[in-house]
């Protein structure tokens, strides 16, 4: 139910209410983007037809480094 899938915004309508999201491998679908502030090219997390979060690709890439840092600083 709370499953959310990441995709890339490739088109936005004039009212900034709906966008076309590219999920890769040829899958494109309309999503409501009224719950987030987005621009074309942004990655979003889509749940039940609504984008619920904008993803920061750079931050995602840093996740592994963050994990490594947390592991190395710990004595547990």
């Amino acid at each position: 139910m709370c499953l959310a899938i990441p995709g890339k915004i490739i088109e936005i309508d004039n009212k900034k209410e709906h966008a076309i999201v590219d999920y890769g491998e040829g899958t494109k679908r309309r999503a409501n983007v009224s719950l987030v502030n987005v621009n074309i090219g942004d990655y979003v997390l889509v749940h039940a037809g609504f984008a619920i979060q904008v993803l920061d690709e750079e931050e995602a890439r840093e996740t592994l480094d963050l994990f490594r840092e947390m592991l190395s600083e710990e004595d547990t």
Binding site: C2, H47, T63, F67, E74, T76
Partner: protein
Amino acid sequence: MFSLRDKQLAKEIVLKIKKSDVQLKFMHVCGTHQDTLVKHGLDVLLKECGIEIGQGPGCPVCVTTPKEIEEMLLLAQNGKVVATFGDMINVPGKKRSLQSMRTEGCDVRTVYGIEDAVSIAKENKDKEVVFMAVGFETTAPTTASVLMGKPPDNFSILNCHRVVPPALKTILDMGEIKIDGLIEPGHVSTIIGLKPYEFISSEYHVPQVVAGFEPLDLLMASWMLVKQIKHGEPSIENEYTRVVSPDGNVKAQKVIREVFTLGDIKWRGFPVIGESSLELRNEFEKYDARKRYEDELEPLVNKEFKEPKGCKCGELLRGLLSPKDCPLFGTRCTPDKPVGPCMVSMEGSCNIEYKYTKK
């Protein structure tokens, strides 16, 4: 876009947990977490490290009560076009499911989200369309947003939305199960942020970590909980920083507040949980199927519906049992012929256990 996989790092985390020499019981409240745990064998791996992880009431379809299912079935029987998520269609009521009613000629539609249901209403002006609005904080803003956009008059919702933190409080208050740490759901937290969980650590002294859905996320979250326990400093931490911000999605929270107000509601397997439902505010009452079809639903008002005979979904949702503890699991209850909702929903622990271990 990006895959969070690193075998070496996973090994390092497991080693850290093993070295910490613990015997702990964690609960999570998300079907997608359960799927990752079972699919990748992390539940078994962590058990070998002294950590048992089980699913609590983290499946919106599963916690929807038998009475709410009967309400939907009655509306379908009375000629409404009933639209809802795929999982809901197969949940058995007392004698039937939406799926079985569909084969009898009732108009039951599977939709991906509430906007699809509104489209059905727009395309069928001569029909009454009811959307069964199930879901936690992740889904509630989608319902709220649509209602604020003034859907057509032939559209209404059977509101079954619930919020997660009060259920966690209830589990801790009931005290039936020892919980050393909670793994909080990543996408509910995407909306609500970290603050609504704080009282659990400050008042109940239970460590919590919001986690993502990759195997590494859940290993890391487990280790973060171990760390909190070792240090004796329970708090709410965020492992899923690439998605969840401490404040959550403020825009979505505002939309929820504008449309809903908190109310009390029963959850399957639980008593009534205070302030755990999202009730429609007065200005949105015209979209409330329970008000609109009050007369039709009247026969159900004072009726109590029991759990299916022998079904252990209630105990499972309270974290007291695992799917394989249920005598019906894989015998009388299978995904093709489910007895309870935990075997129906893709978020249900029985369905997940069956999918990866029984076939």
